[in-house]
């Protein structure tokens, strides 16, 4: 794991001091709320429906047990005893008080954490593959690259007041677990003629006008990474729209200019402004890579244990993956037990998980963009014991990748922008598809729920997407089908008129029924069936049947 250098420490400490100064100026009226807003946002502090919300950065989703323990402490001392893991692999606290925020930031800096650039119109926390460094098919570990970008983008003097927020993801695999193509910039490590470099995608995004990112460089050499990122950001800062907040993201610029024109502007800026000092040499890269070595794992032929315990077997089947070092497994911890808000963990769970990760996974924990957690290196001989402990903590729900493993934004329960609730919908889905057997027979499927068109719950790229709307004060839900956030990224298509909260679950059941009916074989998943038969078949079944019932 990355460890702070003295420079990192100093920079974070200074930032905390600076923010203390800003909070003081706000409290004594020297800063207006309008002026304070972008400053607090740059420190991750939002004003929500009921209170402030503090979003703490978990760079590329990687946490140590010490850090998780600190998060548990903060949840207890400054919040209401829980935290919420987000789709950007961060954690949010929903109830901090403004005068206490500097103290929270102090506490965080003790464990090398902060809330910098988790909001505001700047380059946000870099996201990555939660299986980075763990799988055999990976071209290269993306985390060191995330760290290099994190440093470069932190307090970037030129790019801290962009037209809009800016999100970058990096993956090292063809199989995409980062939602790469709905990022402002997506970087994929690839190998060409035996040299590793990057494919560069730009202009992806969700919100009210979703776009899949387009490739603007099929191979970028490693040494040029930062200069090329600067060239993209320069182009965006020059030309990105500032007249309309809904048109300010880079996706709009790329689409208005056309990808070829945009690319040529970037390439020109790349030549004009390339800075020798930003070129990455081998030593710098190696120094960062050294932080991300695997812990000392011993190869063995130990397999996962065979047990008569049905619950354990279900969990083992659903929530573990083979590690690239034989004898170990990757364990996924679902934060979607039936009836709970997706992504929430209480302070006891965090505390205990920190201990568990020390005992079973070298003190490492990761956060996935699907709002679950990962224990990256668990010895197969200890899996049963681990499961027992997770089960006691209610952290052994066997639903990773299944229908109840929904992504969901905070919605009307917390968010000031929401047009409808989203958490209760996710809870209902969880309660309706509780049995492992039922879920397993449906197979891999992604349901994603947003409480408004801003799409923080990624509904556009859900295999089934649910968008909460307000119709004359009543909550309605629009359903889209066929979206994907993976390497075959696609924006879902609206199936038809939306449903009241009451009718939503039966509509989803109907959609699942249509899928089942059309499945060619047991392994054909929802998205494949959708792509084969198209939306019309689903539409016909859904609305004909709903109408009959009315």
């Amino acid at each position: 794991m990355y460890k702070y250098s003295n420079i990192d420490k100093k920079i974070i400490a200074d930032r905390t001091k600076q923010f203390q100064n800003q909070v003081e100026r706000r409290l004594n009226g020297k800063l207006t709320e309008e002026e304070f807003k972008p400053l607090r946002l740059m420190n991750g502090l939002y004003l929500q429906l009921h209170a402030y919300m503090l979003r703490v950065a978990i760079p590329y989703g990687e946490l140590s047990s010490t850090q998780l323990r600190k998060l548990a402490f903060i949840a207890d001392k400054f919040d209401r005893g829980y935290g919420h893991f987000t789709t950007r692999q961060n954690i949010q606290f929903n109830w901090p008080k403004l005068p206490e925020v500097p103290e929270i930031l102090d506490q965080l800096s003790e464990v090398e954490m902060h809330a910098i650039q988790t909001s505001g119109n700047c380059i946000r926390n870099i996201s990555s593959d939660h299986l980075a460094g763990l799988t055999a098919e990976e071209v290269e570990d993306p985390r060191p690259w995330c760290e290099i970008i994190r440093k470069w983008s932190t307090f970037h003097p030129e790019f801290s007041f962009l037209p809009r927020k800016f999100k970058i993801a990096v993956t090292g695999c063809l199989e995409d677990r980062t939602a790469l193509l709905v990022h402002d910039i997506g970087l994929r490590l690839i190998k060409k003629n035996n040299v590793i470099g990057f494919e560069v995608f730009v202009g992806g995004g969700q919100g009210r006008t979703p776009h899949i990112a387009k490739m603007i460089r099929s191979f970028l050499s490693k040494k040029d990474l930062l200069n090329y990122l600067e060239a993209i950001l320069t182009t965006y800062n020059q030309l990105g729209r500032r007249d309309n907040i809904y048109k300010a993201r880079i996706k709009i610029l790329v689409n208005e200019l056309g990808v070829q024109k945009f690319k040529s502007l970037v390439e020109k800026n790349f030549v004009k402004f390339s800075n020798e000092k930003l070129k990455l040499d081998k030593n710098t890269i190696n120094d960062i890579f050294n932080f991300f070595k695997l812990p000392k794992l011993k190869y063995s032929s130990n397999k996962l244990p065979i047990s008569k315990n049905k619950k354990f077997n279900e969990w083992k089947q659903q929530n573990t993956l083979p590690h690239k070092i034989s004898g170990y497994s990757i364990v996924l911890i679902s934060l979607k037990p039936p009836g709970k808000p997706p992504g929430d963990a209480d302070s006891r769970q965090m505390q205990e998980l920190a201990n568990i990760s020390d005992d079973f996974s070298f003190g490492e924990i990761r956060v996935t963009h699907e709002q679950n957690l990962v224990l990256p290196h668990v010895n197969n001989t200890q899996i049963y014991q681990l499961w027992q402990q997770l089960d006691i903590l209610k952290l052994a729900t066997p639903n990773i990748g299944l229908i109840s493993d929904t992504i969901c934004c905070p919605g009307m329960d917390y968010c000031a922008l929401a047009t409808a609730r989203s958490i209760p919908i996710s809870q209902k889905i969880g309660n309706n598809f509780k049995k492992y057997f039922d879920q397993k027979s449906i197979g891999d499927i992604k349901i994603k729920i947003s409480g408004c068109i801003n799409a923080c719950g990624h509904h556009h790229v859900g295999n089934i997407g649910i968008l909460g709307l307000d119709r004359n004060g009543e909550e309605f839900y629009q359903i889209t089908l066929g979206g994907s956030a993976k390497e075959d990224a696609a924006i879902g298509q609206i199936i038809g008129p939306s449903f009241s909260e009451k009718k939503l679950i039966s509509a989803i059941r109907r959609i699942i029924k249509t899928y089942r009916k059309n499945k060619k074989n047991a392994s054909e998943d929802f998205l494949s069936v959708f792509r084969r038969i198209g939306i019309e078949a689903f539409k016909k079944d859904l609305y004909d049947n709903t109408r009959k019932k009315n």
Binding site: K10, I11, N21, K30, E35, L39, W152, P157, E158, S160
Partner: protein, 150 residues
Amino acid sequence: MIILERKTEKLNKYKRITNEFFSANDFLPTSLLSLYQWQEIKKQGIKKNFQLAIEINSDESSESIKDSLKKFSMIQLNFKTFKDGRPFTLVKELRIEHKFKGEIRASGHILPDQYVFLLRCGFDTVEIKKEDKEIWIELLNLDNGLYYQP
């Protein structure tokens, strides 16, 4: 308003010229022209042979001055709002692409919290309210010169 160069207050030698009072002959080396005024006198043909200052708003295009940079001793980039970050890139273009060596000044709606960023991007001076001087200096004092970027 005062002009601050790092921590020192500096005399402002430039004066805006009012709208009704400009022609190609009616400005002095101490004149601060708007982009519009500059374009007007450029049309008329610039008769005088000395440098002057120009102010460009953050939402104005700077294209029309890029071929005449030698005419300016000072370029003032005026932030319509501190959230409009375009001048941070424009100053890079002026310094690196066009090799502009004169003074570049930030004015308008800027915050002391942006001071270090402004200086690092290539601004020399800022125009601020007199009563804000202390806080601008205080925030600059917090800067210890450690950055992630070259």
